[in-house]
Symmetry: C2
Subunit: 348 residues, 2 copies
């Protein structure tokens, strides 16, 4: 801070106009002559002027800053969301403050306060829990993201279309000859689990399958959770080929491990379908077939919705973005014949 930076006053003096005219020219306002505008732009370049967003924000109420509060930036899904948000923000000349909440109330509250103090123009938030008091009092435009956003039906939100995802997953299992797959579910307290189950039930009803007859286990959304659930499934015994739809990729990868430990092979003996599309799923052996969530798309769309919120345009309600199937090698094809396993089939 040793050297004073050039201000609009310096530009105005060099261009021979008032600071009002200089400000108008620099901000692209229409009520400036082309001749004055050019003189101002030249002067700005000559003195090395760069706008001071603090001063702009003080007077105009707009800082050009957006906030993003997600559970953990090192989680690949949330990193994708952040990437999409970054890109859309940058396209619109805005900058993104990124915070990791670790699903902790206190951290979330602290980050929300930091955003208020920084006077961000708006924020994208994956809410920690049914913690609407803090959000209600946030006092700035915001858009919710992720499954937990469903707890706040009156607010603008963006998430994956879990119903569509479960449907394409189930359809794909059926197309491969797996008509009665087992399920590995997430914890009972989680929103995503309820929605996964609901769609699964609908699918069964449409195809005259009794959902109660299908094996189901649950656990945490972790490798360990999936591993333990798969061990329990295998301990029930299996009549021929077993197909499993896991609630996320980490669980699916853990399940693959349990299969191997039981002396069985995936996909020859046990087929496994994941849900998420984390990068690691490309490197298991065989590569995991999975239904990928649109992380980056969610980030981008959330920024779009946030711009609408900031501009006071009508609310979007809840936006569900479609997922997509990534086929690799973890599902046996029982529909026609048993394909030979090749390296090409093993990688996505």
């Amino acid at each position: 801070m040793q050297r004073r930076r050039p201000t609009i006053i310096d530009v105005a003096q060099k261009a021979g106009v008032s600071k009002s005219t200089a400000g108008r020219a620099l901000s692209g306002a229409s009520n400036v002559t082309d001749e004055a505008r050019e003189r101002v732009m030249d002067a700005a370049r000559a003195v090395g002027y760069e706008r001071n967003d603090l001063a702009v924000g003080m007077r105009s109420g707009r800082t050009g800053l957006l906030g993003l509060v997600i559970p953990d930036i090192t989680n690949p899904f949330w990193a994708d969301v952040a990437r999409g948000a970054q890109d859309r923000a940058a396209e619109n000349g805005m900058s993104l403050l990124v915070f990791s909440s670790d699903w902790d109330h206190g951290r979330e509250a602290s980050h929300l306060r930091a955003l208020r103090q920084a006077r961000v123009d708006g924020a994208i938030i994956n809410p920690v829990a049914d913690n609407f008091d803090d959000l209600d009092r946030f006092g700035l435009p915001f858009v919710l993201i992720g499954s937990s956003a469903e707890r706040f039906p009156a607010t603008s939100s963006v998430g994956s279309d879990i119903a569509q995802a479960v449907r394409i997953g189930m359809d794909h299992l059926v197309s491969k000859g797996h008509h009665a797959p087992a399920l590995i579910l997430g914890p009972k307290s989680r929103i995503a689990r309820a929605r996964f189950l609901r769609t699964f039930h609908e699918h069964c009803v449409e195809r005259d399958i009794d959902p109660a007859a299908l094996p189901m286990e649950d656990g945490e959304y972790t490798v360990e959770g999936g591993h333990a659930a798969m061990k329990r499934l295998l301990a029930r015994g299996r009549a021929g080929h077993l197909a499993v739809f896991a609630a996320n990729d980490m669980m699916a990868l853990g399940a693959m491990l349990a299969v191997r430990e039981a002396g069985l092979n995936c996909p020859e003996d046990v087929s496994i379908l994941g849900f998420d599309g984390v990068p690691a799923s490309a490197f298991s052996w065989p590569g995991l077939t999975t239904v990928a969530k649109p992380g980056r798309g969610i980030g981008m769309r959330a920024v779009d919705c946030l711009f609408d919120e900031i501009a006071g345009r009508p609310e979007h309600g809840r936006v569900f973005m479609p997922c997509r199937l990534i086929e690799r090698g973890s599902l046996a094809d029982l529909s026609l014949h048993q394909p030979r396993r090749t390296a090409a089939a093993g990688r996505g």
Copy 2:
């Protein structure tokens, strides 16, 4: 922006003091009586006052904002760096603006300008290239991170200790009986490659090995790059067991694929050691033994160094943070006997 937010003037009025006294009490200054301070704090609570960082920054020159410019937030290593930086910033009541440069000059320049306009207190930057003009003119305190920082020896920087990493990798290979491993290197233009090679040569000299006699291939730091390099290594023919030290985990994972395609097994026929510690390496089969870079530690340390830069304390020069070995199942143990492959050994 419909409702005016409480300001220090409101707090001062409610507490019956001047705005100066209110400001001093709220900022923790010592020249306020305890009685006045308490009255001010109660008043602030009662009116719901929260500091306005824009106003603070305008007058004091400090915003409480830090910038982080990395290549890609979805890259696990850089996400770890960001996580470390976030945590350290949050511990110190500061907020982090995060940008992805995609190794693009224009993007980097644009992000640096955004940081200047936001009047951040300082920035942590993985420089895109030998682009020192922009950095020299950045005009704010900064700390460089990553290998490309080595191009700017006069500035404060934090990175992985590649020499130490190569040394523990080579020592580990030797301890497993792999005395003359092959190398899969990154592209010739990359700093990390040069340092990797230099340490490798030192290691060979210390152990009376002729480095020129060891097989080396190179490629991009990608799965495909590693896959192609390994195919070329295998095409040279091998006398017995082949051990390979790959320049990063993606290349190592690609190399594992090439081994499998050649009808060989890892680690029975070919041992592979990676470098990076990306999460996906835990899920290959067998799990990849690798030398992990301290991403999170780098992020944290960089914030510490940046605080020193901001405070005008003596420069740190270049800080190299130690890497650590993650042992999984991709290295055969030729030192004593051939261990049986078990699931426990396959996972990290």
